[in-house]
C-alpha cells in the first residue's frame, strides 16, 4: 500500500514545479495546443509515420556524428588512421561508426519513401506547397551530407568516387572549371578537398539543415497533417473523418516507428559492419568496381549510358542539364500540379513519378550489375 502522505508530497511537489514554470513562462497555451491537436485517421495514415522516422534517423546522425568528431582527424595524413583507430581501439567505436554509416543510408531511403508517399497522396497541394519545397531542399541536403561524408574516411573507393563526382560539373562550359575548383578546394582531390568536405559536412550543411528542419516541422505543426484527396472527397460526401489525439496516441504510434527504425539500425550496425577499405593513394590507379553510394548510382549509370554527343552537345552536359532540370521540376512540383489544390489531382503526376522511380530503380540495378 502506498503511504498517502508520500503521494501528497509528490503531487504537491509536482504541482509546485508546474506552477513555478507556469508563472514564468506561461506554457498553458502550448500544453493546450498539444492537448487539442488531432491527427486524421484513414486507410493511408500509415504513411504519416515516415516523416517521423526520417527525423529520428536525422537525430541519430547528429548524435553519432558529434561523437565521431571527438576522435576523427580531418587531414589526408590522419583521416584514415583516425577512423581505423575509432573502429579498432575506441570502445564501441565500431558501433558508433556503423550506426552513423547505416543510419545515413536508411535516412536517405526513408526520406525518399516519405517523399514518394507525399507525391502519391498529393500532400504537397495547397496550402502545403512550402512544406514540400523545404522537404525537397532537405532531401538535396541529405544527398550533400552523404556525398561529403563518404570522402571523410579517406579510403580508396571514396577518394575516386569523389574525383568522379566533383569532376562532373567540369563538363559544363565556361563555369565548369570554377565549380570543380570550388568543390575540390583546388584542381585535384587532395587534403584540401578533405578539409573542405569536412567543413561542409559538420558545419555548413548542419547549419542550413537545422533552419530548414525547423521550418518544415513548424509548417507541419501549424497546418496539421494533409488528408489525401480520396478521403477528402468522401468527407465532402458526408462521411465522418475519424481523428485521434496527437498526444499521447499519435506520439506513441510514432514512437513505434522510431523503435522499428532503431531495431533495424542496430541489427544492421551489429551484423553488417561498414567496410573501411584501403587508404586512399592519389597516385594509385583506379580500382575496378568503383562506384558511388547507391543513391547516386542511378545518376552515375545514366551518365555512363549517354553517348558522347547528343544533338551536337556533349553527352555529359546533356546529363548534367537533364538532372538539373529534373531537380528543378521536383522542387516546384506543387505549383505545376494546380488541379490537386482544387480536388482534381492530376493523374499525370502519379504516372510521371512511377515512370521516374522505375527508371531510377532500373539504372540503380544496372549500376550494380555492370560494375
Amino acid at each position: 500500500m502506498e503511504d498517502p502522505t508520500v503521494a501528497t508530497t509528490t503531487s504537491s511537489w509536482r504541482a509546485r514545479t508546474a506552477t513555478w514554470i507556469e508563472e514564468r513562462y506561461e506554457l498553458g497555451a502550448l500544453t493546450r495546443f498539444i492537448d487539442e491537436k488531432r491527427v486524421p485517421v484513414h486507410r493511408h495514415s500509415l504513411w504519416y509515420y515516415l516523416g517521423g522516422m526520417t527525423l529520428f534517423l536525422f537525430i541519430v546522425q547528429v548524435v553519432s556524428g558529434i561523437m565521431l568528431i571527438l576522435y576523427y582527424r580531418p587531414s589526408a595524413a590522419e583521416a584514415y588512421e583516425s577512423v581505423q583507430y575509432i573502429v579498432t581501439r575506441v570502445e564501441f567505436g565500431w558501433l558508433v561508426r556503423n550506426v552513423h554509416s547505416w543510419s545515413a543510408n536508411l535516412l536517405v531511403a526513408v526520406a525518399m519513401l516519405h517523399m514518394a508517399s507525399v507525391i502519391y497522396l498529393r500532400a504537397y497541394r495547397k496550402p502545403r506547397e512550402l512544406t514540400w519545397v523545404s522537404g525537397a531542399f532537405l532531401l538535396f541536403l541529405m544527398l550533400g551530407f552523404g556525398f561529403s561524408g563518404y570522402l571523410l574516411p579517406w579510403n580508396e573507393l571514396a577518394f575516386f568516387a569523389t574525383k568522379v563526382g566533383t569532376g562532373i560539373p567540369g563538363a559544363l562550359p565556361i563555369i565548369g572549371h570554377d565549380i570543380v575548383r570550388l568543390l575540390r578546394g583546388g584542381d585535384e582531390v587532395t587534403g584540401a578537398t578533405l578539409s573542405r568536405f569536412f567543413g561542409l559536412h559538420v558545419a555548413i550543411l548542419p547549419a542550413i539543415t537545422t533552419v530548414l528542419v525547423g521550418l518544415h516541422l513548424l509548417f507541419v505543426q501549424q497546418q496539421g497533417m494533409s488528408v489525401p484527396p480520396s478521403v477528402e472527397a468522401n468527407v465532402k460526401k458526408g462521411e465522418r473523418l475519424r481523428e485521434t489525439r496527437f498526444f499521447p496516441n499519435f506520439v506513441l504510434h510514432d514512437a513505434v516507428g522510431w523503435y522499428l527504425a532503431l531495431a533495424l539500425l542496430a541489427a544492421l550496425a551489429a551484423f553488417s559492419p561498414w567496410e573501411l577499405g584501403k587508404k586512399a593513394d592519389p597516385f594509385a590507379s583506379v580500382p575496378a568496381g568503383i562506384r558511388p553510394e547507391w543513391y547516386f548510382l542511378a545518376a552515375f549509370q545514366a551518365l555512363k549510358f549517354l553517348p558522347s554527343h547528343v544533338l551536337g552537345i556533349e553527352g555529359e552536359n546533356v546529363g548534367v542539364i537533364g538532372f538539373g532540370a529534373l531537380a528543378a521540376v521536383f522542387v516546384v512540383l506543387p505549383f505545376l500540379d494546380r488541379g490537386a489544390s482544387y480536388g482534381r489531382p492530376g493523374r499525370w503526376v502519379s504516372w510521371l513519378a512511377t515512370i521516374l522511380f522505375a527508371f531510377l530503380a532500373v539504372m540503380t540495378v544496372l549500376g550494380y550489375i555492370l560494375a
Binding site: M1, V90, L95, L262
Partner: protein
C-alpha cells in the same frame, strides 16, 4: 501497511499498471543500451605511449659531461643527463608534481623544474620543492662505433 491489510484485500494489478510498467521497462532498457556504449565511447582508450620501449636520444658527442638533453620518448618528454664525472643517466622528464618538463641545471648539477622550482638530484630523487616522488628512471645504453656512438634510452 495498516494492520488487517492482508493479501486478500490487496487490489489486483490493473492492466494499465502492468502495461505502464512494461513500457517503462522497455524504454529504460533501450535507454541503457544506448547510454552504455555512448559512455564507453567517450572515455578515450589507453594511449599508444606505453608501447614505446626504446628510443635513440641522440649522439654521445651532443652530451659533454655536466649536460642534459630533453628528447621525445613516445608521446612524453624524457631527459638524458651526463654527470660531471661522465656517467649517462636517463629519466622521464615529466615532473612528478604537475607534469611540467624538467631541465638540466649545469651550475648545480641537478634537474630542475621551472614551473614550481622542484629539484631532483642526479639519481632522479626529489630533493627540494613540491615534487612528491622521484622521476621515473630509464636505462641508458651506448651503441655504435667509437666517435659516432648513439645514446639509446629504454624503459627498464
Amino acid at each position: 501497511m495498516e494492520p488487517g491489510d492482508g493479501v486478500v484485500n490487496r487490489p489486483p494489478v490493473r492492466r494499465r499498471t502492468l502495461l505502464d510498467w512494461l513500457l517503462g521497462l522497455g524504454l529504460g532498457s533501450t535507454g541503457l543500451a544506448v547510454f552504455h556504449p555512448v559512455r564507453r565511447f567517450l572515455v578515450p582508450p589507453r594511449g599508444g605511449e606505453a608501447e614505446t620501449a626504446s628510443v635513440v636520444a641522440g649522439s654521445l658527442s651532443e652530451l659533454p659531461p655536466n649536460s642534459g638533453k630533453v628528447f621525445p620518448f613516445g608521446s612524453r618528454p624524457a631527459i638524458v643527463v651526463r654527470t660531471p664525472d661522465g656517467e649517462l643517466r636517463a629519466f622521464s622528464a615529466v615532473c612528478t608534481h604537475l607534469d611540467c618538463t624538467v631541465q638540466y641545471k649545469a651550475d648545480t648539477s641537478q634537474m630542475w623544474c621551472a614551473c614550481h622550482n622542484g629539484i631532483y638530484d642526479l639519481s632522479g630523487a626529489n630533493v627540494s620543492g613540491p615534487p612528491p616522488r622521484p622521476l621515473e628512471t630509464f636505462v641508458v645504453n651506448v651503441r655504435g662505433e667509437a666517435g659516432r656512438e648513439e645514446v639509446v634510452v629504454s624503459r627498464s
